[in-house]
Amino acid sequence: MFDHLNVVATSVFVFFFGLVSVLGFVAARWKAADLDHIDEWGLGGRRFGRWITWFLLGGDLYTAYTVIAIPAVVFAIGAYGFFAVPYTIIIYPFLYLTLPRLWAVSEKHGYMTAGDFVLGRYGHKGLELAVALTGILATMPYIALQLVGLEKVILALGFGGQGIMAHAPITIAFVILALFTYKSGLRAPAMIAFVKDAMIYIFIIAAIVIIPYELGGFGAIFDAAGRAFDARVAANPKLAAGLTLQPGQVGPYITLAIGSAMALFMYPHALTGALAASSGRAIRFNTMTLPAYSFVLGLIALLGLMAIAAGVKVETPQDAVPQLVLWAFPSWFAGFCFAAIALGALVPAAVMSIGAANTFTRNIWKPFIRPQMSPREESLLAKLASLAVKIGALAVIFFMPTRFALDLQLLGGVWMVQIFPAIIFGLYTRWFSGWALVIGWAAGMIVGTSLSWTGTAWVPVHALKWDIPLVGDVDLGLGFAAYNGLTAVIVNVLLSAAFSLALRSRARDETSPADYQDRALA
């Protein structure tokens, strides 16, 4: 299994991996507090200032999977993969308005998860359960995909091996991750994020300067990529690929950006990172500074075109970035870049497992199994749940085809956006009632999932014409396809509104309008 191992690159890789593992354990002593309290273990005691939050959220949202998958789409079909850029542009103005409100009400009432908030706001356990299950369901495959990113770079280091040995390196990496997350909680990824983000920035700056130089400039790169797309389309006229969007791609490009932006902060890991901030001010600051990561993401997307121009050979498009790194850089720096990507898997994987564990503990176990839990018991259960989530993700990678995790992740986004009405509308009004939102959610989940199944594969977009059972063919006549998450959430909102009119809620709302005000601004 070591025959083709790149010794220099692997040594550098192992060095950085070891360094952050030590940091992960040391983090338990950082801003020392009682880690047997779930608020400390699972939310860092809500004491992360603006810069720590910046590194943590940056490391948490811009994942290893992103670094591999976005350029892979650009490598395969070009402009379409750039949807990540409008997606990350529209999200921050939106977060600037909404997230400080969620932070304020959560701090006031001690909410740790989206489920906590909807229970307090709507007084409806069914809605809390729906929100919690959606979060956990969508997070599991996302963690599994971080492992795919990790495995891609380990493969590029030259590891061979058959059967169980093929998975040995990521198993070791994940066991280390599981142990320091168990011990240090959210402090571990927060501390590691400093190193990881610094390394990613160095990797990208080097790549964006050196690779175009080696390839004869950006003009040459785009020319070569454009010719490659033309050749592929000539060989397969049905393929939609090119340096700009093809007519049929425009609708999906826009709706995918909107839907993905609506879904992102519904994920438990995103909320965990945001609620751990020490003030609404820190969150507002981050909506102005996190676009720096979006810019880096845009540059990372361009690596897909550079890989075409460099003529790297790949088995799947997901190998494009690792192979480009090996092509462009000396071994020691390739090892550094791979370590950066690998750490880019660990930070989100840690936060995701913590977010899922908090959700499971607070919104499933506590209300439905054991209401009288002490904070110490909550903390222990969350720690154990974080281990279980990671073992589950490893099992997915071991026993299921990668395709399965990819499909689930795609559906995860479609599902996640279905809790958007309950959370975001809930920040402004209690007009919607709990049952109505549950009905809307259920309809959104069913519509989104069924639209995504073509009979042979799962796809994220569907033409805006449907063959509805009992109704027949319906065609909106808009002539373009849209992201299923967005189509489904519109159905969700319409039903939630209609049923809210019919089913007025008399349940208690424990929040008051003043709780949502950002004290830093008031």
Partner: protein, 71 residues
């Protein structure tokens, strides 16, 4: 009288604030506006450099929106 004009000022500021937050989103989603190769800048087609430039512009717009009503 003074209080009323103060309220109107704040209302006006709120509109400018929303406009600053909304404008970059509209530009980012107005795909036909930038879905083309020319004008090329430093060898980079318009589609790519326009969106890349829009990222820092959108961040600055949030900074500006944040300044309104804070002093």
């Amino acid at each position: 009288m003074l209080a009323a004009s103060g309220r109107r000022m704040r209302y006006h500021g709120g509109n400018v604030k929303l406009l600053l937050l909304l404008a970059p989103c509209v530009l980012a989603l107005w795909v036909p506006l930038y879905n083309s190769i020319p004008p090329v800048l430093f060898g980079i087609p318009f589609f790519y450099w326009f969106q890349l430039v829009l990222i820092p512009v959108s961040a600055l717009a949030i900074v500006a929106a944040d300044r309104i009503g804070r002093d």
